[in-house]
């Protein structure tokens, strides 16, 4: 089933032509490569049983890195589960990601979540959940709070094409319109929601045009073009900060891999479609641009790859060397302070651990 993706017409330029600053492009490329290498590594760790599950992002690195690049560290991010490259640009350390994938004692989430659902308050990267779409309205609520507190930030929420069908896409965009919340809705249309192709998810021609149902601006960008994404996000941010309200950005990308390590895309899509999109891949495009401009050479790239792989290996080693999570943490964080009932359950649990009724 081939996807009729409508790329934006060349004749509809954003408000200013500048894309990612040339001096930034090598760093952007580095982040994209790091994401891709992490992804490859994690897929193999999952196959080896060293992590339990994994959600790959290949095909979406460019859109994610470019989006994150256009933001400010003070902005609040509300991701879904596929935002590895955003997390990396944001600064989440590799080791903290591995800690989360493993769910060990170093995991700030205390081993509570499946892999890929990380989050770190420190980086204003809010811990994701699995039900799709719920984060969209959180981003709007947070933006309304920022408005109230007169803090000049934006909130950005990430979600996929399938998620436009969710309840909170509807409530989120509607609230944002009504309250003119400074929120950027960053929709990565990767053409598939597990096995559901984009054109059977909804009959609207583009996802971006859904914005008009809420009186807000919608923009379609080629998500494999980092400059286009960067511009769209930067403009949306400027507008929001200036009080111009929210924007829905549809970045047209492709999920090159499976939905997750539990998925087999061969059941529902063709190799031809995959090949078509591989040719458009943002990683190849940025690489070409850098090779042309001299910002990258075959040798410097080889070195870069090597150092990134080493970085990843070191982080993994550290995470795998970290102790498992302490079982008694099971009862923490249900509430700020445990209720008597939870204390009682924890006491029984500890006794069971001591007596061997439970074995960690």
């Amino acid at each position: 089933m081939s996807q009729a993706v409508e790329l934006p017409k060349p004749g509809s330029p954003p408000s200013d032509a500048g894309g990612i600053p040339p001096e930034d492009l090598p760093k952007v490329y580095r982040a994209m490569l790091l994401a891709r290498l992490m992804d490859e590594r994690c897929l193999s760790l999952q196959r080896q049983g060293r992590i339990g599950f994994y959600v790959p992002l290949q095909g979406q690195e460019g859109a994610q890195v470019a989006c994150a690049w256009a933001l400010d560290p003070s902005d609040w991010l509300f991701p879904a589960y596929r935002e590895l490259a955003v997390a990396l640009v944001r600064g989440l350390p590799l080791v903290s990601l591995f800690d989360q994938f493993i769910g060990n004692a170093g995991d700030v989430l205390k081993g509570r979540q499946m892999p890929n659902h990380y989050g770190a308050r420190e980086y204003r990267f809010v811990t994701a959940s699995s039900p799709v779409g719920t984060q969209i309205i959180h981003a709007v609520g947070a933006a309304m709070a920022a408005q109230r507190k007169k803090e000049r930030i934006v909130t950005v929420t990430f979600f996929g094409d399938g998620t436009t069908s969710s309840n909170d896409f509807h409530s989120g965009l509607n609230f944002a319109g009504v309250f003119q919340a400074p929120t950027i809705f960053f929709c990565q249309n990767n053409q598939w929601a597990i096995s559901m192709p984009r054109e059977r998810q909804t009959r609207s021609k583009t996802l971006a045009m859904k914005a008009s149902a809420y009186g807000i601006e919608g923009v379609v960008v080629d998500g494999e073009d980092v400059h286009a994404v960067y511009r769209a996000v930067r403009d949306a941010r400027r507008k929001a900060i200036a009080g111009g309200g929210p924007t829905l950005i549809e970045a047209q990308v492709y999920r090159l891999g499976p939905h997750s390590t539990s998925d087999d895309p061969k059941r529902y899509r063709t190799d031809a479609e995959l090949a078509e999109w591989k040719a458009r891949d943002s990683v190849g495009r940025v690489r070409q641009e850098l090779l042309t401009s001299g910002g990258l050479t075959e040798e410097s790239e080889a070195k870069l790859l090597e150092s990134l792989r080493a970085e990843i290996a070191m982080a993994l080693k550290e995470a795998e060397g970290t102790a498992p999570i302490d079982p008694s943490t099971l009862f923490d964080d249900v509430f700020e302070r445990p209720t008597p009932r939870l204390d009682e359950e924890r006491a029984e649990f500890s006794k069971f651990l001591t007596e061997g009724v439970l074995k960690p």
């Binding site: 659902h117 308050r121 719920t134 309205i137 709070a145 109230r148 909170d168 409530s171």
Partner: protein, 325 residues
């Protein structure tokens, strides 16, 4: 001390909390100019403006979801759901997000949110303006659930809820919003969450109830008193955390228990109280535990007076409990 109604006490608690803390704000449907369909937010928009008394579009998922986002950002939102029957569109936000945010983030993201909503029958509201949904929330780990039965508790518990760092579902017995007035302390009056209250001490049978069931329970206790039966009436007030100690203490004394609520019986909150007794007070029990509850049907319209537990049904159960065993 002022003599006010329950709904006025709610209004007072909101007013005081908003005055005390600029991070407290309200959101919901028709809560602004209209003052809420039960007038619980009457006058607040005038005092605090539309930025703190936020009239929202008609979406409960939006109301709760936005409240969560605001709380993550550092505010203390109090969301109103117009009738508890209309909370289900927000169920995903409540169960998947509100209840689990702190836990799933390893404590990084608490959700300082109160959801307040009028609940229960007795106003001829039929299936969709009468429900008592407390069991759903009480079963959901991560939520506190609180139900006042009188003006003083309404103010004291709501104030505690607003300043509690955890999400609180605060259910208001709309049937008695204006039924009686009661003395309510002025100023920062707080009733701690997690403590039951003994409404009427007694020695023969323990009766556990909450919210709008307290008046008929008290009436029943008075009725059996005339027959020489002493019923201890305990208002649970806080379903989560539950004051198990108070429940056990009472039954250890009386050896008999009647549990009363409006919600359907099957897997209702009363089941938990009964289970607690079967687990921790079995040897004290002299006669079977009894539940006087709504029937296991949807809430009716024309027959609501026969559906809702009344003083006679409750008295009947108290007598049967005392008689047996």
């Amino acid at each position: 001390m002022t003599e006010i109604t329950l709904v006025q006490a709610v209004n007072r608690a909101l007013f005081d909390a908003m005055r005390a803390d600029p991070d407290v704000l309200l959101l919901g449907e028709d809560i602004g100019v209209n003052g809420g369909v039960f007038r619980a937010t009457e006058g607040l928009i005038k005092e605090f403006g539309p930025e703190r008394v936020v009239d929202t579009p008609l979406s409960e998922t939006g109301i709760v979801g936005a409240a969560i986002g605001m709380a993550l950002y550092g505010l203390k939102p109090v969301a109103e759901i117009q009738f508890l029957d209309f909370i289900y569109p927000a169920f995903d936000q409540i169960v998947s997000e509100l209840a689990k945010f702190r836990y799933r983030s390893g404590g990084q993201y608490p959700c300082h949110v109160v959801i307040r909503s009028p609940y229960g029958g007795g106003i001829k509201g039929g299936l969709y303006h009468s429900q008592s949904a407390e069991a759903y929330f009480a079963h959901t780990a991560g939520l506190k659930v609180v139900i006042p039965s009188n003006p003083a508790d309404a103010k004291g518990l709501l104030t505690s809820a607003i300043f509690d760092p955890d999400p609180v579902i605060f259910l208001e017995p709309k049937r008695i919003y204006r039924a009686v007035t009661g003395e309510v302390p002025d100023g920062d009056h707080r009733v701690p969450l997690g403590s039951a209250s003994i409404v009427r001490p007694g020695s023969d049978v323990s009766v556990f109830a909450y919210g709008a069931m307290i008046p008929p329970v008290v009436e029943a206790a008075k009725a059996v008193q005339a027959e020489g039966l002493s019923a201890e009436v305990i208002d649970l007030r806080s379903l989560v955390p539950l004051d198990e100690a108070a429940i056990l203490k009472s039954v250890e004394k009386t050896g008999r228990a009647v549990i009363v609520h409006e919600a359907p019986r099957f897997v209702g909150f009363g089941a938990e109280v009964a289970a607690l007794l079967a687990e921790k007070a079995l040897y004290s029990l002299k006669s079977p535990v009894r539940r006087v509850t709504g029937y296991d049907t949807p809430f009716p319209y024309a027959l609501e007076n026969l559906y809702l537990p009344n003083a006679e049904r409750i008295a009947h159960a108290i007598r049967a409990s005392a008689r047996e065993g």
